[in-house]
Amino acid sequence: MSDSVVIHLGEQRVKGVLFLPVAVERPAIYRVHRTQHPDIVHVSTDDLKRTPNIRNVLIEQIARAKHKVFFCSFLFADDEIVRALCEAAERLHGGVYILTALDKHLRAEVLDEPDSDVDAHTAKLQERARRHDEHLSRLAHAGAWLRSVEDCHAKFCVVDDACAMVTSANATQEAYESNPEDGLLLLNKHVAHEFGRLFAYVFLHLATLESTPGTRLDVHSINLNTPAWRPLSGIDQFRPVTTLRDSEASLRAAAIEIIDRAKEHLVIASYSFMGMESHPIGDALARALERKVTIDLLVQPRNHIDAQRVSLAWLLDRAPDQVRLYGHRRTHTKSIVADSQSVLLWTGNLESRHGWDNGIEVGIIVEDAGVASAVSAWTGDVMQRHTHVALSSPSMRELIAAGQPLALQGEWTLGLSPSMQTSLVVDVLSRNPVELLEVNGSQVLRCGDELLLDIRVDEASRRIDVVRTRNQDRMGSRIKGWLAESVVRIVGSSASSSTQGKYPHKQHSQHNDRKARRQ
């Protein structure tokens, strides 16, 4: 038995916040903001002129090392930083200790990116992984000792227990030259020593893979004991903080403290923003909004991450007049500044699933107006040259009006496969915005977060046939347009209720969350 149902597409709304490219980009500026503090320097990548300020500072400090260098970055895909570390290892006859992703740890975090938007991105990741391996071999040969902790996402460097750098930047060429990234160079010995202690603890007691210095990279497992950890301690205006699995959660406490301390304004930057609606840090943000604090939030506009769209909508909907969202296609910076008085700069993201209660991240709270202002001003600069604007739950027609492409305009007959339940498809199409994607040469209809359909389009007969439902493999997908001006007559069978017609949106969101975790 077959049905025939007509659905008008156009008014259905995208769930959550969607970022759209700005129509006209504003004049971009890059400025260095000085902290006016003798023991702390704010450094940032000049992504406009591709000036690697963070790399330069790191190389300078490494070159000055008299005894040892600790460097933590799960990726090593930058020639210059690797050369500096190799030179230090040769010059110091060892003493260069590196925490990074070795062997299977790298594959898990970088190579297995499941749903990157485009093929080029996948190729870039693989090239980055190849460079990573080459660099690790060079480091091992030069005398650097490499160890790997699977869930370590921190990016910091300590030299001679005299200075430390905490930064959002991974050791990649992109981070040092192309992305808005920043960091704080800390010249306070107590702080550097504390970060050194943290590094030593992770290196000695939490690493599970290592490659000792030698003629080649030789990764093998290590079994280490895990003694008790003594929490990090601060001094004066500086407080080093960390998430050290379940041993220390001072980073989360610090984020909540900074947010709770804000009386007027929060400037927040994060690569991603997910799961905050049911997280203590989200609770702190909600409290801030209740106190009439305004929030400027800079994130990377990753529309394909459902959890981020939902989380941003949650924040925006709580106080639309107090929250301003900025999207920058390459931002990777991570900081929270409260009233230009205190700042938390850390290495994780505003994600509920990683970095606050598990994994390993580091951060630094600085209660100093000069430092806070410098970070805030720099973040403000990036916000000023945002590349995307946010729309909250826009309808498809609003998206078209904002310049998004239109697809499959006019009347169409949508033929379902016999195994699909017509009522189910009708329900999903009626409620969700429909987007035409091209995935590896195939055409796919994406119905909100609920259903992906492989289709075959016959322009002459104005017919769309569903070939099959698709799981969440959207690797290499390209957006062709929204079905904002389409009328779809659905024909098919409502008799069966095969599992093929079910839409796996639950797995979809989990999947995207995992993908979004490491940056």
Partner: protein
Amino acid sequence: MSEPKLMDVANLLNRAGSDVSPTAILAREIPIYEIEFAELEFAEETKLPSSDWAVLALTRALGQISPNDVDAYLGLGETVSDGLVDRLRGGGLLDASGDQEATSKPMGWGWLNLWTSESDAPENRKPTQASKLNESCAATTPKCHLSVAGSQALERGVVIQRRVRSARLLFIADPLLFIGITDEKRQTYATYQRTRPLEPDDVPKPFHMLDTMLALPPDERLSACGIEANIQGVPGKFVEIVPGSQWEVRPSIQRIEKQTVQRTALLALTATPSSRERELDWQIYLGLPDGKRPRALAADVSRILHDDLGSISSFLGKLEPGGMMPTQRDLRDDGAFDLCCDIDVMRTLMGETAEPSDTSLPVKMGGWHGWLRIHAAPSNSEAGREAFYAFLKRHDAKLRQDFDRTCLEVAERLNAYWGLKLKLPSADEAAEILWEHAVLRAALCRRRVNDDLIVPYGSAEVAQ
């Protein structure tokens, strides 16, 4: 031929059952030739046929018999009896009494015929209870008695027969030595594909003596070319080459990676200190191809070296000069030569073992390659330091565990081996010097873990 490697020689000695550390070794690769003999004579035991046994037993019983007796007592008939006696005479089992007498008495003496019947010669007959089956008309001559071989054949129930066979034997030429036979089962060529035999001018000179050597009595033949009476794989005992028979010489070849190469044997001579003062005892070992078990040879070394090498000084004097060499006075009680080495020589005499031990000094003597067992010690601190670092590098695993202690232990062991008290580098100096060796960097980096990662943080963390 390629230069023999010490490892191969050591392996040969080990497989041959040598369990001593020689003072000196000489070795060379020697080509193997296959010599195909058309006619070699072998003595082969076969079961004594019943008829033969009966005739021999009758002869023993009667003391002397003729064809007439054989026919009369055994009833074999005139013709068979004649033939049997004739054959047993031909095989040396019976001797004709007339043969002996013929040497002392002129043929044709009339009285001799008087002895042709039993009744005519009762004094040559033993008393017997055997009775004739019939009167025979067979010949009453020759009169025969048991030969020594006949008595033995009768005792053992076997008779030795001579057989002539062709055989392909493997030899080395210098020294001339038989090493085995060609395994016919492994023959992989058709006759027409076989390599041509060597032209007479190309046959190695030692083989020119083969006819003479193979005609020698067994003991002399064994010492001359190593062929025993029993040749494994050939039935019977080798007697001699049939005089005037032909033989051909070919290189013994094998195919390796589609190339034909001549098989070689590895000849190794080892010298150990003799119980006679200032002399050496030599032993010869032969390593054969195709996985055959090597063996020690009983031959005299002078046959191979053609020199008097029994004296240590004579042996050392025969070695080709080159570099530092020990003298007779340097021979230690343990059979090694002491050698005081400068840095260059020391570098070549540190062996490959983790602990200091005697090493081998390569030498040459004519076409021989050899090695002297050397107890090397540095002649100065520079050479000592060189050795120290060389041995330290062989302890990567120990260095990773405890760098400083390993440095100390290696220094102590070296001084103990040398019998010296040299001041060798400290662990700090060693760490500095050894950084250049990437393979040791793990050990060097582990050395500083305590200072870099543990001590500065004085925490509850436990050192690994």
